[in-house]
Symmetry: C2
Subunit: 161 residues, 2 copies
């Protein structure tokens, strides 16, 4: 889906520049299973609430069972993207996220993956050496149901003239 | 700043309901130092990019030195909020975040805290037992500079009639 510059075939692993990205391009990550132990360890450090820590307490919560912190889902999604073919020269550097939704919870044992779609490519007005790319990242579970949807803005360098 | 119901003095630790929250109320967390070892451990698991993992590689990046993953800043901020006096009955349950910005990086050794301000209190149309509260959470470093700003929407139960 990516334009191939100067006739050379480029591996999907080759870091991309602003010129390589166009609206509508999509990238898919590998999958990652959410281990119960890692779910509770993340909660203990970052989000120590009963519905993330303890099965019995979680059964009495709004969720009716143990669920992952939404921030763990966000962090796992970042890891899946970093390890995917969506490689940007200089790295995946976000300036911000304009919207995150968690439409349904993530449970222990769920298997997550991320689909990323480029929604805007905009050269910077002030910095001729870079631009901003908006990308919609959808994290899906093993039933192909979205568990997190976010639109992030990334700093992407331009090729040197 | 919080209205005190029925003349009874309520500890700041008492979980709050929708009726206890008003626009303009603010809450402050304790502080947490970002340990270099924890910064690299988070990056290794969730955001394995050179500028989060290795001082030498980070020196050559856009950041000029080692910085925390923005998702670690988000996770640390959640932990600070959960452990603060901003206690909601049923827990801090976010349905989404409408905007996150990371205006400057977090470095190893930075000391973070969160200030939360209620910006909207809205009873649910469909669920008479709950509402949605929008809260602006600003994560500040030891120089009182914002490192993360987000506006989150939380599900907050109403008192039973």
């Amino acid at each position: 889906m990516r334009p191939i510059p100067m006739g050379a075939e480029m591996s999907q692993k080759t870091p991309m520049y602003l010129e390589d990205l166009t609206v509508g391009q999509t990238f898919r990550s590998d999958t990652l299973a959410v281990e119960p132990g890692r779910l509770k360890a993340f909660a203990a450090e970052f989000d120590p609430q009963p519905f993330h820590l303890d099965e019995a307490a979680a059964a009495n919560s709004l969720f009716g069972g143990l669920v992952a912190s939404g921030w763990q889902t966000a962090a796992i999604s970042m890891g899946l993207m970093v390890r995917s073919d969506f490689k940007i020269a200089g790295g995946l550097i976000g300036v911000g996220v304009e919207a995150i939704r968690w439409p349904r919870p993530v449970h222990p044992g769920d298997v997550l993956r991320v689909e990323s779609e480029i929604v805007e490519v905009r050269p910077s007005q002030g910095n001729p050496d870079r631009g901003v790319v908006r990308v919609r990242n959808t994290t899906l579970n093993q039933h192909d149901q979205p568990v997190m949807i976010q639109v992030a803005s990334l700093i992407v360098p331009r090729r040197r003239g």
